[in-house]
Symmetry: C2
Subunit: 340 residues, 2 copies
DNA sequence: GTGAAAGCGCTAACAC
DNA sequence: GTGTTAGCGCTTTCAC
């Protein structure tokens, strides 16, 4: 790399001290307009660029945040990162990105790296493997600003940004009812996952509020895989009184269900309505196009950063303690749920 | 944040100097095993964590690289970032992520941020808007290690990692021929995009090598949109002798084509074979499932990092100058091209 | 094999 | 409004 210009270079040229130059560049109120202009012009002319390492070391603020996601390959997290980085950039912050690959080890490594880099705060989505969350609890103890997004933990008392899964499930189910379907089933997933249990609860509540009886036989316990949810179709159709619609906990589950229904010669949406969750990008391209619930991924990232920034600025964990930003899910109605 | 442990804390406790502690922690050869063990144990016990800002400032190596992608929302780039971060992490490097949103302004901003953070190197995929590439040329002049991935520029003499688009087009076309299709068409895209012209060239070469005459009427000039490529079907079918298969430059183009063919009552793959490019995640879920060409995204990220690391280590731009890593595309054969 | 001393580039008390 | 001085935490000559 070529030789770097420093503030002392500018100071020498202008016969000022580094202190004045530093202050001028940082728009310090007690520096005269003349000097500021002079310094800033010179800095530009000399192609000066602040060494943020030195600045951070001295000031104790790095204007950098650490972000932990399970994997950048997953669409959902890519979108959230998009929102985070956008908002961070607008506010003069850089992001260091780490992936946990759903392991606790890499999650801990990431935290280590972040602390070493003296990040001003951390945004994280908890790895599936992480049942023991002491590494996050320690951040809390150390007063490191921390915000969870998507996957959080209620015991930890850490602020978080999540989508309202209950409401999403409620909306999806209500939509099917409004379209005129009468016997609404649900393809669920592992109940230890909050997203699954919450969406199931939303499903139940919607049925209840619409005066429909919940039929336990109408709840198929899947595992989020396409293959298993394909069997959901077979299962539903063997029931004495089969359902005529289903809300699937996730788009891939919905996809499996649709494949299964098609194999059985069932017409969608005429004979059977389907709605999923996540608004995956294949939704509009399959046949029939799949109705779904949008999770506001970009907004989730933006909100997460904003919340973290608040924490960083105030340094008063207490004020936002356990604060939850809950995002509104949005219905995306396509063909699969349009009963004629 | 809580009070931080520094090497002088360790030095004091152990009645050593900071120099020795630093060397012990860095596994300096001239430090005795005893001392090393002593220091390292103490560091662990005191929960010491190296301040990488201070370390980087002093040593001039930040063990950080900057990564510029157009957008983290785009699947393709998410996957590449996955590969980059994985490989970087394994080698003790952190990544700072910036998005250009396809604009030159944000691209320049990102470079500014990176230089300020004294990154050891930069990985970038050029923004569509960036025709003037002086900001990258300047990095070259400053001897900042730089590697392009996916989108590069040949004039700049910057090493890059790309997929072999020509070969991909060649493979896709050859595959259709091998399956027994006789009149192969091509749905292309804007010719100023290298990916489009290269794939077109691959298409032409495959026809030639298989002794098939290239028919200019069989080349439909699309714009990468689903809508326009839907019209490609109408166009092909009005020809006096319509083609019986097509290679589409990109999966979304293939998707449009398929929609158009279906609307015209054409059976795929019986009457018309289709293959796309990119291996998007919807490929296996549409009907019929779409054959495609995989671009090795994760590997692209890994290779890009490896190449950059080489540059950083040797600091001899010349040795890898204009070095191109060209990745092999991989055929993904699904139903849309399986002529019975 | 270890210590002494300097300094990376910047910011922030404290002067005046 | 600007200068003086110190120091963030670390690495790295140069000693011996």
């Amino acid at each position: 790399m070529s030789i770097r210009i420093t503030i002392s270079d500018i100071a020498r040229e202008l016969k000022l001290t580094t202190a004045t130059v530093s202050r001028a560049l940082n728009n310090h109120p007690r520096i005269s307009k003349k000097t500021k202009q002079l310094v800033q012009d010179k800095a530009l002319a000399m192609k000066y660029r602040r060494n943020s390492l030195a600045s951070s070391l001295r000031s104790g603020k790095s204007h950098t945040i650490g972000v932990i996601i399970p994997s950048a390959r997953v669409n959902f997290f890519g979108s959230v990162v998009h929102g985070i980085q956008n908002m961070a950039g607008k506010n003069g912050y850089s992001i260091i990105l780490c992936q946990s690959e759903e392991t606790t080890l890499l999650e801990k490594n990431a935290i280590d790296t972040f602390l070493g880099a003296r990040v001003d705060g951390i945004l994280a989505s908890i790895a599936l493997e992480s049942e023991d969350l002491t590494h996050f609890a320690e951040l809390r103890k150390k007063n490191v600003p921390l915000v969870f997004f998507d996957r959080s933990n209620d015991q930890l008392e850490i602020p978080s940004v999540e989508v309202d899964d209950f409401k999403g499930g409620y909306m999806a189910t209500s939509h099917l009812i409004e379209m005129g379907y009468k016997r609404i089933a649900h393809v669920s997933g592992p109940q230890h996952l909050k997203i699954c249990s919450e969406r199931l609860n939303g499903y139940k509540a919607a049925l209840k509020d619409n005066g429909m009886k919940m039929n336990p036989a109408y709840i198929f316990q899947g595992d989020l895989s396409i293959e298993m949810c394909q069997q959901a179709a077979d299962y539903f159709l063997t029931l004495p009184i089969p359902p005529d619609a289903a809300f699937a906990v996730e788009d891939f589950s919905a996809l499996g269900l649709i494949k299964g229904l098609k194999k059985n010669g069932i017409n969608i949406p005429q004979d059977f309505g389907v709605i999923g969750f996540a608004n995956e990008n294949f939704d509009e391209h399959i046949t029939p196009s799949l109705s779904s619930v949008e999770q506001q991924t970009v907004q989730m990232g933006e909100e997460a950063f904003k919340l973290l920034l608040q924490l960083i600025k105030t340094q008063k964990m207490e004020t936002v303690l356990n604060h939850k930003v809950v995002l509104e899910p949005v219905l995306c109605i396509r063909e699969s749920s349009k009963k004629p």
